[in-house]
Amino acid sequence: MSRRGGMAPAVAALAACALAVGAMLGCAAVGGLDGEAAGGAAGAAGAAGRHGLASVPASAPERVNPFGESPDAVAAGGKLFLRHCAECHGDAGRGGRRGPSLDSRRLRQASPGALFWFLTNGRLAAGMPEWSRLPAARRWQIIAYLQSRDGGWPGARERAGVYSTATTAHR
């Protein structure tokens, strides 16, 4: 730490800081809550665009979920979903205060690899955090859970018992 005093430069720097932050806040206000609020409980209409799956690179969908349809992975994914995702997307994934519903055709049709890419990268500009902070195995477990959800992918209804158990056990 340098040990010198003096007020004028500090005041000037503070003013510059305040101006910069003010400008950034102004930009944020113009942009509004875009991703966060636009989703809300608005339902599935137009969700594909908001989810941003169109930006998934061509090679990503080829990746296969190493857990497949393992009931344990689905249950663990349900636990992780409640822990990390439900805060925005709602406990049932049907939309929350900040995140859109995950019951959209585009999401249902997405491959596990595409979902993994999207979960890893997020969509920062729209408010969706990147989840690379979670180990890859846990991201795959979340995807196993998402793809088992009732009303979603083929075979979901058969796994509904597992899903319900996982959901209620960790609430």
């Binding site: 730490m1 340098s2 809550l33 009931p71 900040r98 890859a136």
Partner: protein
């Protein structure tokens, strides 16, 4: 090892200020809103790529207990309020204080930082830009960064003298973060400058960590390995613009362990070992974090006339 940190601190006026700080913490914690899982990384000094989720406020109290050669041992603490403005932009306010054995307790100032991710997609190495304004005194002992020629002897100065030297500083960091398999590797390059004049001071921090279990168990658990992250961090000074290098600098090596409690809070602990004679022999750090979701968003939505819930 640590002698009488709390022995005489009770008699000091600083205690009242600490009471105010903790009162403020209690008030914020009792704010009526949903709690969320704290997303704090395992490190105390090193920053990783993780930013706060938009609209979430994370409150952290991170004390550090230090052994002081030639002076009283100290307990310093930072109250950290971290808020996600956007998914790519996080701001954080620190309020620092310390209590030194035989020398009383003082509030030492505040820091206000911003972290921005310039790249919106993951890369093999992810940069985060960091800028912070500090208004602290030389009595600050939180050791949230070690730069320039910061050495342990700086902290032996009595509070009544050190409190008189105010430091208004600009700190910048280039935060680089990578995933090596399931390991997290984060490197910070630090440049700090007293706004009153030169020189720039430099420092570094490096951290490596990994969850104890990669996949989650199907059932709820508290003590299972998936809730723990273990790692190690190293940090120190690199001299200044007048003499960059390792001469008269201090360095620390610190194992870290983080525990995410299923109910929401996260706990961290880290003993840091000084690597040379200019360093404190040992620092003991711990931290508790709690996250509040939707902080401020409801009010903003109400103001727009939208649905609040």
């Amino acid at each position: 090892m640590f002698h009488g940190v709390s022995r005489r601190t009770h008699r000091c006026g600083g205690r009242r200020r600490f009471a105010w700080a903790f009162g403020l913490l209690a008030a914020v914690l009792s704010w009526p809103m949903a709690g969320a899982r704290a997303q704090e990384g395992p490190y105390f000094v090193t920053y990783g790529r993780g930013l706060e989720e938009p609209g979430n406020l994370e409150i952290t109290l991170a004390p550090v207990l230090g052994e002081q050669r030639g002076g009283g041992d100290f307990l310093a603490a930072a109250l950290e309020l971290e808020y996600g403005i956007k998914a790519w932009w996080t701001t954080e306010l620190y309020v620092d204080g310390q209590a030194t054995a035989g020398d009383g307790a003082v509030l030492t100032g505040f820091r206000w930082e911003h972290r921005v991710r310039p790249l919106l997609l993951e890369h093999w190495i992810d940069p985060v830009l960091y800028v912070e304004f500090e208004d602290i005194t030389e009595a600050d002992k939180t050791l949230l960064e070690v730069v320039g020629h910061d050495v342990a002897a700086d902290h032996a100065v009595p509070n009544r003298i050190a409190q008189g030297a105010r430091l208004r500083e600009l700190e910048t960091k280039l935060i680089l973060s990578s995933s090596l398999g399931d390991w997290d590797l984060s490197e910070n390059l630090i440049a700090e400058k007293n706004l009153a004049g030169p020189p720039w001071e430099f420092g570094y921090a490096v951290g490596l960590s990994r969850p104890l279990a990669l996949a989650a168990r199907p059932g709820a658990c508290t003590l299972c390995p998936e809730n723990f992250i273990a790692g190690i961090e190293m940090y120190g000074g690199l001299g200044d613009g007048r003499g960059a290098g390792l001469r008269d600098t201090s360095h620390y090596l610190a194992p870290v362990l983080a525990w995410d409690l299923p109910g929401g809070p996260a706990l961290r602990i880290s003993p840091a070992f000084g690597l040379n004679a200019a360093s404190h022999r040992i620092l003991l750090r711990c931290g508790i974090s709690y996250e509040l979701s939707d902080f401020g968003l409801r009010r903003r939505r109400r103001a727009r006339g939208g649905d609040a819930e």
